[in-house]
Amino acid sequence: MKYVDEFRDPDRARALTLEIHRLVERIDRTRGGLERPLQIMEVCGGHTHSIFRYGIHQMLPPEVEFVHGPGCPVCVLPMGRVDDCVALAERPEVIFTTFGDAMRVPGSRTSLLKAKADGADVRMVYSPLDALEIARANPHREVIFFGLGFETTMPSTAMTVLQAHAGHIENFSLFCNHITIIPTLKAILDSPDLRLDGFLGPGHVSMVIGTRVYRFIAEQYRRPITVAGFEPLDVLHSVFMVLRQIAEGRCEVENQYARIVPEDGNAQALSAIQQVFEPREFFEWRGLGSIEHSGVRIRDTFAAFDAERKFPVANLQFSDPQACQCGEVLKGLIKPHQCKVFGTACTPDRPLGALMVSSEGACAAHYRYARIDTSALTGRAVVRTGSAPAALRVQA
């Protein structure tokens, strides 16, 4: 496929890996040895998926490790919100529409998938516009779309609300659970035990919001960030770019994914977001707690299309199952396989925690793709294959 295959070239990947190993040797020498591995957080769940799928974490030298960030909207959705979805879906007049990702997320009682099996009218759609079509075709039913995701997805639901408004489709509403990336990054950067050395910036969020908005990370928090594409060469190239910044003592916002991400983002998409949504004071995240201004809600102008105002929504909070350590994994305190229930009580087929549900969740990606050696099962070591090839040990 055009613009995909070129970024999967195995020879280039090996060349890049070699350059990464050389850079790390250089950083190691300059600093007279590293006290701990350099930690790079990939913010986006799409990157987490790529890293495990292509085994990129295993190609890096042991001095570099990924910390899997909170950028999987399905994973950070609190159980109470899933319960609200199920309650809405169980109303007899409602057709509840959702992206496939959210179907299996466990609530405190059940998931949307189980609710569907029990008779609720839950339908998976590819686009929010498909939900609007369902509303047009079923004027006597109430069609709710489950709006979920970061700024990548927000313009599409905003546009759908605008079209519903323009077309007077009064039986359509949005259950808005959108979250925004900048307050989330701020919360991570403000955490007292922050050890991150750099960031891979979310590629598709950035095509909407642009790259300038990340300047505070470089300027105030003095961390390098490279906005990254999703193919294996994109990820390796971006890691190389972050490490090069570290080696040269720079903290800047760089853009590896310039073929898709313009510096200013997408003006039309931002305008649609602005018209329809406004920030919430707080939004609750699974595993991370409440983060100020990290969520959005529908503006008063479009209240008629807000499922939270149209229907009673309990908005209760539930704590995660005791055995579940999703929160610790999300904060980078433990690796997925170090969780007590990883691969035993919690698997992609029977997920206990949210990180095992979505293919972008760190645990599901780890379970599916990571080649785990036995030391990992005892929770001791970071998963790795063998020792680095001789050529990578460049002599000083």
Partner: protein
């Protein structure tokens, strides 16, 4: 969740509602292109363009010059291997040779 796939605009289906026929991985479907058109670039001017498709919307126009630039940078990095050290990286082959065999990436 933030899955995006490159596709090519084949034809404009409905210029008023900004609907275009876009071919994504060999499959053609109607995609809303409202976010990538403006007065300077009306729908009719977009035929043949590559775009990034996300949940039924074209979210960004793929900049071919930037794609070429990134690929050129990647080639330069590979050329720094003068000592032939790369040949010794055979144990990475098992990982990298599977890259092209896999499907779409989120």
């Amino acid at each position: 969740m933030c899955l995006g796939i490159p596709g090519q605009i084949i034809a404009i289906h409905d210029a008023v509602n900004n609907l275009a026929l876009v071919e994504v991985s060999g499959v053609r479907r109607l995609i809303n292109i409202a976010f990538i058109v403006d007065e300077e670039l009306p729908p009719a001017a977009c035929v043949g363009d590559w775009v990034l498709v996300h949940v039924g919307f074209a979210m960004s126009r793929l900049d071919e010059a930037e794609a070429m630039h990134t690929l050129a940078l990647l080639r330069e990095l590979g050329e720094m291997d003068e000592a032939g050290e790369l040949d010794e990286l055979d144990d990475l082959r098992s990982a990298t040779d599977t890259f092209s065999a896999t499907g779409s990436t989120p």
